[in-house]
Symmetry: C2
Subunit: 475 residues, 2 copies
Amino acid sequence: MGDGYGRGKRRPYVVFASLRIAKLPLMSRFDPSDALYVDLYQLTMAQAYLRSGQTAEATFSLFVRNLPPDRGFLLFAGLEDVLGYLADLRFTSQDLDYFRRTGQFGDDFIKYLAGFRFTGSVRAMDEGTAFFANEPVIEVTAPVIEGQIVETFLINQVNMASLFATKAARVVKAAGGAGVADFAARRTHGTDAGNKFARSSYIGGFIGTSNVGAGARYGIPTIGTMAHSFVTSFDSELAAFRAYADAFPDSTTLLVDTYDTVKGVEVAIAVARDLESRGNRLVGIRLDSGDLASLSRTAREMLDGASLGYVQIVASGGLDEFSVEALVKGGAPIGAYGVGTLAGVSADAPWSDAAYKQVTYDGRPVAKFSPGKATFPGPKQVWRCFDEGDGPVAHDHLTSANADSPELNATTLLHEVMRAGAVIGQLPSLDQVRDRSRLELGRLPESVLELAGPTSVRVRVSGELDTSSPGRERI
Amino acid sequence: MGDGYGRGKRRPYVVFASLRIAKLPLMSRFDPSDALYVDLYQLTMAQAYLRSGQTAEATFSLFVRNLPPDRGFLLFAGLEDVLGYLADLRFTSQDLDYFRRTGQFGDDFIKYLAGFRFTGSVRAMDEGTAFFANEPVIEVTAPVIEGQIVETFLINQVNMASLFATKAARVVKAAGGAGVADFAARRTHGTDAGNKFARSSYIGGFIGTSNVGAGARYGIPTIGTMAHSFVTSFDSELAAFRAYADAFPDSTTLLVDTYDTVKGVEVAIAVARDLESRGNRLVGIRLDSGDLASLSRTAREMLDGASLGYVQIVASGGLDEFSVEALVKGGAPIGAYGVGTLAGVSADAPWSDAAYKQVTYDGRPVAKFSPGKATFPGPKQVWRCFDEGDGPVAHDHLTSANADSPELNATTLLHEVMRAGAVIGQLPSLDQVRDRSRLELGRLPESVLELAGPTSVRVRVSGELDTSSPGRERI
């Protein structure tokens, strides 16, 4: 057997060469529209739907089948991008030219795509809502081709944004009241992820981002200190610190670990005194390596001993919710955390099994029964049920969309947000979404918020949803 | 202590509120340029450099300090995007307006940014080259502000693309000659990652992608079958299969596991006979759930029993290099694999510690000595040394950039690819990069290619690089 690298006894590629491949001579570059962020099969199915006259309305549900490891909840995020995409969805003339050149599609279908718009309706949870396994966060009702074509983008954005918001909420919880900022831009999977992590982490409770473009795009506070390279550029640490403080006399945080942290703190203290003599104040020092618990205590003592109690300590360098929690529990005198890579890729849970499944076609409930992937048929409503009016969440209740309230103190979570392809009303601001998220988290039981081994909230499934799958457990 | 969610005894956010925050009233949306995909500190440092006259030339090295777990090598990818970014780098008038409104920067600096261009030079490995810990894959030499501002984007793109190409190469190795296609678009971290995974996985040996936009952008073959929702839309599986086969009589692969896989194969056989009677051929069937080893054998027997030996079996559903290897080693009669989520987020290694470090300033070698993060000073060359002329890689040798060849059979890996901000010559085509990658992998020792617990290639460090860090091990 070959190893795929051209050694040993090789088999040729046996099948995919003929499986819907459109290999083109290298084209002149063009920038495909968002409409082309789509799996090919969405378009091949669309042509088959069109030609067979199978174009009735369908409803699709977006949900996660299982919460990722160590997650008792997920925070819903990504809706604003989804609605913007749906409202603006068009195939450009360049996109259509590409299809013509591939020869994959008929002229009838390309003509259909030229006039393509999303004309459907969307019901969704509010961004910032906590959700659990098998609960639809978005339901799309549209002519089946429209509802199908948007699948790839919708799963992509909601899965990413919700994982990111959830990860951020965990770090914020661990920080116990200290501020947490997004330093992830350099290690996220690409720029879309970097921008969306800034937005989602702000929803999850971060107080700002180092990512300038995300700050500009979303109106998020931007935050920054200095890099080691700035220090090494100058002949001495003192010269570097002074140059920075001269440029930003009221907003300087000095990175003290480039050469030797304790000496770095001494130099920072000297610069703090310079600033004081000119009527300014050093804001903080940053520790980015070594034993942060011990170094932060040493630095705090040195600063306090120099009557610089107002100079705060910022910590960064490979942090996540677990290491932040350890520092906070150990009483490290750290005022703020910069959290990057491990949060920005949701390292302990970089994916969920988010799915987008058809639940009706032409008014008929449908479902799939594939092992481990069975779905509940029909459009749904999610009800959140509280112990008392303002008590913690007791459980959720999943019913068909038009069911009556299954119990007292139950609130519906899915609301119509788009009709006939147009957004209904005004979307909440990012700060409103962030407030919503904080409120939601405040009403989850403590055991659901645990960083390791959390429980989840029970989701009761109404009998009417639970029709046909043998072996599906009814509650 | 509070928990960050507004319960218990709360401390206010103590520090970041004054740490370089620019909180704006929510702005009218604009689409920031790539130049704003930058950590704020790159720009604050730039203003400090400018004002202190610290603007000499510097060299920066991009490398990984440690290979991720279970990685004996990484495949270098991302250079084409890096060079495109550097060549086109501009701050737009909207970007500059944003800076004016934040009040974070002085008019002198904003004026500087208005005329900003990248004027430096770049030395880099070829895309598709295998590299190891501490080896620079890119070295940037430019006026220090220019070299610094590009850090965030460069790390982001190279880290992502190299992790993706490497992950893909592992799956290709596991598949042992069967084709592997990218089905990851829906679960990557955003659209940039989805597009770059398609490109990087093609470099790593995948044969195509489901991502239409990536196919269009990069000239990669696009591949697709059908979704479960297509099947559930129709009154019966047979009606669905027929509708698809009518639309694509020469390129249909039927998804057979929506209801019951064995019955689905029976229906597919009926459709294959229909196609034969019209002079066409069913290309394949796809299994997406259940015990793929056992189902593929059953399906193969059924197909062969119906004289449909030419109908291939495609497998998908939560696959990665480990599950593909198990199927291949178990002799599962699967002709091709569709690999999505676990590859598209590089799930077992979603990040590397890729870093971009200043190694000279104004001709002077510099380094940082932070614990665990120390760097070698000065610009470098990486030499690949082979046992014989065309034998496997023996080891690498890291020297200063201008050193003579350290030994026989040594080849330099870093070449100048950009001078004065312009790309030198013609970049290789994506297929050339893919060929390069295949060649590279073919010359790595087997132990380096192991999926679990690989060895790596030894990187000798020349004495002249190893100057000042106490405790650094010399080879």
